[in-house]
Amino acid sequence: MIILKHLKVDDISYVSQKDVLRVLQRGLKRAKIDVKYSQGYIPHMLTYTSTPVPLGVQSLAEYFAVECSEKDKDEFLRKYNMSMPKGMRAVASYYKEKNPNIAAIVKASDYTVKYDSKLPKEIEDIAKMQSYVIKTSKKGEIIEKNIAPMLYSLKVSDNELSMRLASGNINLRCDSVIEHINEKFCLNIKINDIYRTAQLVESEDGFCDVEEVLK
């Protein structure tokens, strides 16, 4: 099984996850990679993606795994990059005997976002609270959500904001957090300027990059 780390940037950040999967699978076909298919009535490609970023958010660290006969990870990467739109270029590839099930093991993600002026240091205080309730919309309804247990860190340096949020089964949407910050501090940070920079798994001393597991 080959696992790819790829980008989701520029135009592609506006493509929904359902469509991203289709784009990936067509790319594999164009690359003439011998992907394994399910044995069901309607066979489908055996590919697995990681937890998606919200629509409009860009990412430097998306993952997807492919069951295929190709064992040479570098050759896979080369073929893949030749047949994909620019915004989904792969940056690393790994070979694993078994499916590492990235969607299940990832527990947090790092995000950074740049703003066109200096950001208030007070933003960091949100992460220091024991309990912090924000309003967010879920399936069209406005709900109240205590984000404190899912918000691991917030750091402001000059015009850049970095955050570490729960990701995976328990998930805190980065766009909800930014929308709340925009409202509370009267800012206009654009959702499209958010980048996911890493996906993390739990380790002895907190979190480490999922790539450590894949190496």
């Binding site: 135009d11 506006y14 493509v15 289709r22 790319g27 076909k29 164009r30 298919y37 629509l55 409009g56």
Partner: protein, 581 residues
Amino acid sequence: MWDKLKDILLKVQKPARYVGGEYNLPDMDKPCQERVCLCFSDKYEVGMSNIGTRILYHMLNDMPDIVCERCYAPDIDMANELRKNNLPLFSLETKRDIKSFDIVGFSVQFELQFTNIVYMLDLMGMPYYAKDRGEEFPPVVAGGPCVVNPMPFAPFFDAILIGEGEKNLKEIVLLHKECKQNKISKKEFLERASKLDGVYVPSLHNPTKRAVLEDLDKAYFPTKILVPNCEIVHDRSTIELFRGCANGCRFCQAGFYYRPIRERKVDTLVKYACELMDNTGYDELSLSSLSTSDYSGLKELVAKIKVEADKRKVKLALPSLRLDSFEAEIYEDMQGASLTFAPEAGTQRLRDVINKNIKESDILSSLTAALKYGVKNVKLYFITGLPTETDEDLQGIVDIVKLVKDLHYKYGKSKLLNIVVSTSVFIPKPLTPFQWEPQISLEEMYRKQDFLKENLRIKNVKYSWHDAKASVIEAVLARGDQSIAKAVVKAYELGCIFDSWSENFDYDKWIKAFEESGVDYNKFLKGFEEDEELPWDIIDNGVRKEYLLKERHLAIEGKTTPNCIGKCNGCGANKFARCFE
């Protein structure tokens, strides 16, 4: 522009439709002396599925010094955001203001898209009528199937391209490039354009002969096509087998308009199919034409392509099969598939009138074969309101459905058979032998639909019908003259857009628009006299008027005309190109 767009893209549905960035995007940064924008007056999902604009887009981009971009009708939510933010409609590739292009082209696919032309011009910030757009605006031209009768929308355009874009679009773009280099005015450019084959300039009202490719096999066909990032209506690669149709069904505009018949060679098509499968990664390939089963090399083609498709795990789709030449063996490995037949009329008498040369026995044998192979779904298409139709003919539709059920009972391999019956309402279209006929009244349309609703209450049979009111408006828009344009503008002002999407169609607003703009729409629903000048007479589409008239008289007598594969019937279209080798 891109920065401003970022703010609004997340407020609209399916933003992927507005950002471009598809795979196989042509080079937008190459040295360019002429920038063209091809507009499609429907949503991205529909426009991207259209093979005609696809061919023209890639053709222009493959020409030196020319860059071609695209623009589709934005959905209503996007249009609202654009207006709110004071942004003009933009091109997908480089997010340029459409007004800044050297030449703008519209594809007009069907009548209910007319208001969308006005909608898009409005969003572009251009006056609706060509006469109101001065030298500061680029020439706006139109092409597409609706140009059979361009009069109802002619006032919106500087020029209308009649016929095949591979020829006249290419020529007009090259001419404009030359005129631009020599600083020649738009007016003078249009004068010169009117001398080209297949270019009608409404302000000059010049008699125009349709532009036709002589040799389709040697014509441009793109195989490195755009692969969209979001789902579109026909999400697959398509090869075009041939243009034209030999059958001469008397209600069918496409059957007459696309003549003469020109085929691509089997080997050319196999080459295109392989390249398309490799370049796109699509998992479905379809063979397209007006009547795929009439393609002379179909068996050889399907056999050859099937090998290549299987190798690549690609599914082969065969649409538009005519009942009479349906070959069960093609369907051998399509068990459980659904089958679509279009007998069009319920009785042999009426099928003879419309020249749909299918016998009752053909229906029987084709269906039996299909059912034996395990077909589970049968779709049947009919037209109601055809000339000379009576209730007996409607009863004939019911009888065919019952016959299919009986056949399934006797021979069916599958346990269950679902039958879907769809009827549309007849629209007497220009350039058909029925162009002189009236359309039946709205009341009569409803009565016929009620008759079928009542009589098709049969187990496992579903009946669906086309909106009668939309058919009335479609008929007016298809048969009208230049006066229709002001009603289209009025309808747009009253809120009509995306009329082909049933949830948006508003009959009452259309009627109000005709009344307020002083257009007697009933004039175009009544029949025309045979010696009357028709609005589209100035366009020479190839098929002679006398031929259509002769066919009309044969129809009334209930006499058929054989298809022209074996013997030429002398319709006149062969003056453009040889029909057969």
